[in-house]
Symmetry: D2
Subunit: 92 residues, 4 copies
């Protein structure tokens, strides 16, 4: 990674929340809560994973391919910007 301190902090916060969600699923199973409740917790983990994925992909595009905010080549900047938007739509 080695992106920015701020990116790193944000990604770490996301992954720690994900770990907390896994622990909530574990507790729900141990306490033998209803299947539907457990499945809803797992569905929210899936949403969190998609959110983490799109953030990692966006950071990768910005830091290792083309950063639309400071790219000189206008066509590349706009191509990278469009890709980030498309990925957000796909993984939301």
């Amino acid at each position: 990674m080695a992106h920015t301190i701020r990116d790193k902090a944000r990604l770490l916060a996301r992954v720690r929340r994900l770990k907390g969600q896994a622990e909530a699923v574990e507790r729900a199973l141990e306490e033998e809560r209803g299947c539907a409740d457990v499945l809803m917790l797992v569905a929210s983990m899936r949403g969190a994973i998609n959110g983490l994925t799109v953030e990692l992909m966006e950071d990768h595009i910005r830091h290792h391919i083309v950063n639309p905010d400071n790219e000189q080549d206008a066509a590349r900047a706009s191509g990278a910007k469009e890709l980030i938007e498309v990925l957000r739509t796909y993984l939301k």
Copy 2:
């Protein structure tokens, strides 16, 4: 839940593996490993979540709706069996 002891043990093993995968992502971010590596770890978490989901859904169908293995009504048994197969295809 309150399914069977065996189901519960298997589901708990899955969710603990998932927690371990979240910890691996956390370490990878802290050690500033490459984006592509982190993304591959996250992709494998997503696969594990799909596996857990399909297992929870299958258990729910068997224990709270119709268990194809001991249902008297043949049409319902076959309907439940088909649904389980379809869910496995969708979430594999």
Copy 3:
């Protein structure tokens, strides 16, 4: 299938809309429209496929397993109702 006339009409309307969306993607490719536009059209097809899937699964549960609206066994009725809700959350 052989569900109800009304279910069938609704499912056919969905799949014809899907065919229309595929034709829109085809035209966009032929007219060499921008990648991002084409990708957005394909993303909306994916949403439509998820919608069709959840409707087919719900119809399958209601007509071939347990219909929560007229099931005598209250536990089964509630199990089927919960599964339908969970599938809607997963595939929305």
Copy 4:
């Protein structure tokens, strides 16, 4: 788009196959074939849409952002190559 003639032909072949799959789902519904059969046809459409998506994203990266095969900047080339691999893993 306006990529290459060869890319365009390949994408058009994919989208026409997708249209054919939508027509197969339509026929299956009209002939009142079993739910499970229809759901399997819809599942294969979903797979085809993921395949089309990853191909469109890869073409977009190559033609509008960075083409790893002829990029001078080695870091960008490798960043784009990694992203294409990750997208293939996610959308396969």
